[in-house]
Subunit: 280 residues, 4 copies
């Protein structure tokens, strides 16, 4: 069965780098033209900050996705900055804002038809212990998951070692998943964060295997797969080995202002499809 | 008359890099101990997202500032990510959110006793012309300024070429200031953005002279002054030449996860005070 | 319809790097042999400084172009150095020299049969505001355009961010075009200048679309297309999308003394023709 | 006897890099404030294109030089671009333009009170032999020198290996000097061009000794002396050894757009004066 490829919208939007930035319709059309099967939508202006999207606008976007033949795969929040989105924050106000925000992201996912929402567990501000942070994040995750269950959405926990200091490894993610104790919580990983720890991406595939519901592909320095040092042959073989049937989602190019978003999208897809054919 | 030095809190917070991050009280105490005269507070969790700060909390923070002898100098929003904060956005909803947010930042500044709020003019999403963006941002700025006037706050326009594509130069900032037509709108510049344009920082001092109300100091790659290639001698001479009486505010070290925030704060102050003595 | 390719002569001349330098007849013969359709001629000695070219010499050059099957596409002046050619100069004498020079370049274009002359808007000397510079350059452009209309020549405004500080973006060029208010003024862009701004070249194609009359191709560091990081696939697709029917003109290799001019010309053409075939 | 230091204006002007650029009065005041004894003025707009400077303007500039205490040391043309200024050109028209231009540069030097004009011998366009080029340049130089004699101006021949292919070495310059056969022709050298040939700068001092009338100082990549790899101790010792009584003239920083001109001027002077004190 051929792999399904999706593309994350950050490089086309204003987070974390403000420009270049394109309207979401443009992004959908470009990704469809380049040949992607699905899209991962970042929940930040000008694309998908939930409070900015009326019911009519959500129907409209769903229509554009359908007419361009692009499946809505997943949604994720933009942590850091403004309200923070740190589920492990020492501030009760920030934790509440984070919980509320995840619920509205779940609702937006359901409205757009996306089955997955990514969960970034937060980070430890100086003075917070791992135990405190873990407990706070678990509580947030459990509540988000229960809300998501009512909308048919699955939550996937992502270890983000390159950016944070709470959920860093495959085991950390699985531990948080189990602590939440909700059946619609799964895990995922991002090759970029694996590299930050000098670990091996295919190891994550096998370690997370029964619970792996999503995956982010990025090469060294968030380059397109094939332009850096990740062993993509090993990663593709591993996802085939475990019978992974989700999307392979590129999350690339968004960490700097240089570079043409379409070029990242095109290079990644060309490289991976060629490698997939080669693996047979 | 000796110069006054302030320090921006980003490197101690979770924007744009999530960790390391310190509670705001900690930051205030550290900067006071290192020897700064003032502080510029970034309006993002966990420090100063306005909606997270009750009236009691604001009084408490004001008290900490006073007891540590640190003057509240300025506040600024965290653009990009989440709600966006792009005053030039093609989305009416985002523009409204941005306006509302600037008003609450002004209120927070007044509550904390800070006389200045920085205005980041926004950026052009693909399909928006400069003319449209400029008009939208002017309208937002004028409304923010009128609200700020009621609270005794001055708004300073910052050209941000390294991050955006609307207000990039000294002349752009002055043009926006004039277009707003409100007396409590002034301008500022950041040496880092000047360098992005391969321009000369002291030129900005002279060009903005009668309207210069604030300034950001950062060396190459957001290093501490003295650790990069900026001609600080020329900049200090220029602010002396024009009789600038505001704060010299370091906005450094926040663009990566490496490095000790206290070290940035200490190195910058030591270098600049020594150079100031040398200039006499 | 297949694309038409032209080549700019700077790398074969003495501006801005003095050597290697070839007589213009040699350059014409070499470009024809390599397979170019057209030529862009830089107006500097020893090729085409207008005052050095008698009427007889102009007829002779026209004959060489015809016999080599190379279309004269465009002419451009050599700004910076000597008389300056800065239409936004604070010196009235320099502005007059610039205007006079553009008129003689227009005449030379007409005499050689080239339909286009490039307009470099000038730059801001310290102490000149953008408003003053813009007004001066607009006045020069309008006068040049009116003279050009009498000779059947179109003037194309080029944003030159990498070298100057007045007309830097697509919007700047369009704004200057509109300010001039003459129907024979159009716009162009150069991928090298787009990259200096860390912007996306195909965005310029779409933004300038109805007025785009010329284009300069150069890869990173003025290398031949395909040897750097420009997304040429995106650029070629964009010019096809908008039905651009002008020449794709290489302006490469002239910024240093190393390298064989013929090699730049050959590599660029081979790469782009192959990519064009691939896009279908 | 202490050394005398002068500074060349290119980095403050629009040749060869258009910006940053400052009015000539500004440059004179800045160099005086930094502590230079003299100035070398490049003959290009907006500073000193002869045709742009009326008699009144020349008197005015002479007054500014006097009131700032800066000695006018030397003038030089801006070769390459526009009319070319190649005395060895195969085009009779370009050679005539070059001769006429040198004469007006001599007149400007006399009007401003500068005793020296630099002679750049030109370069060989493909198809010109060294013998032809040398003869053409000799003829031009002799005529320039005879005109200069009537104005009390000395012409100094500079080998420019990094930029050209005709007069590259100390011996080349001396050979051209002798060929011209005029007593007011002397020689000079530039450490940057010496480095291009991987030769030793102090060797040039001794080789040119009885005829050395001027010198350009620049470190690796046109950095300020002390920031690159030139052996300045050896050069300073050599000029002391031969009893050189001209100016040490910095020609630095003009080859790129980055960097603050004042900073180049300040760093060079600080470094060389300290080294001079050290040599005793």
């Amino acid at each position: 069965m051929p792999m399904k490829y999706a593309f994350n919208t950050w490089v086309y939007g204003s987070f974390p780098v403000w420009v270049p930035s394109y309207p979401l319709e443009d992004v959908i059309r470009r990704l469809g033209r380049i040949g992607y099967d699905g899209i991962e939508i970042g929940c930040a202006a000008p694309h998908a900050w939930p409070a900015h999207l009326s019911a009519a606008r959500r129907r409209e976007l769903r229509g554009v996705l359908q007419s361009e033949g692009l499946a809505p795969v997943s949604l994720l929040p933009a942590p850091g900055g403004g309200p923070g989105n740190n589920a492990a924050s020492p501030l009760a106000e920030e934790r509440q804002t984070t919980l509320d925000h995840y619920k509205e992201v779940v609702d937006l996912a359901a409205d757009l038809g996306a089955p997955l929402v990514l969960y970034i567990a937060g980070w430890l501000v100086f003075g917070t212990t791992r135990e405190e942070g873990f407990e706070r994040s678990t509580e947030c995750l459990a509540q988000v998951a229960r809300h998501a269950a009512t909308r048919g959405v699955t939550i996937v926990v992502e270890p983000t070692s390159a950016d944070s200091n709470l959920i860093e490894t495959a085991d950390d993610a699985l531990e948080l998943m189990r602590a939440a104790g909700e059946p619609n919580v799964k895990v995922m990983f991002d090759t970029y964060h694996v590299m930050y720890r000098n670990e091996v991406s295919s190891d994550y595939v096998y370690a997370m295997a029964p619970h792996l519901a999503h995956v982010h592909f990025a090469d060294t320095d968030r380059l397109a797969p094939g332009d850096g040092e990740v062993n993509w042959r090993g990663v593709l073989q591993a996802v085939k080995d475990i019978g992974y049937d989700g999307y392979l989602t590129m999350e690339i190019g968004f960490n700097n202002r240089r570079g043409d978003p379409d070029s990242y999208a095109y290079r990644a897809l060309s490289y991976l499809k060629a490698l997939e054919r080669e693996l047979g």
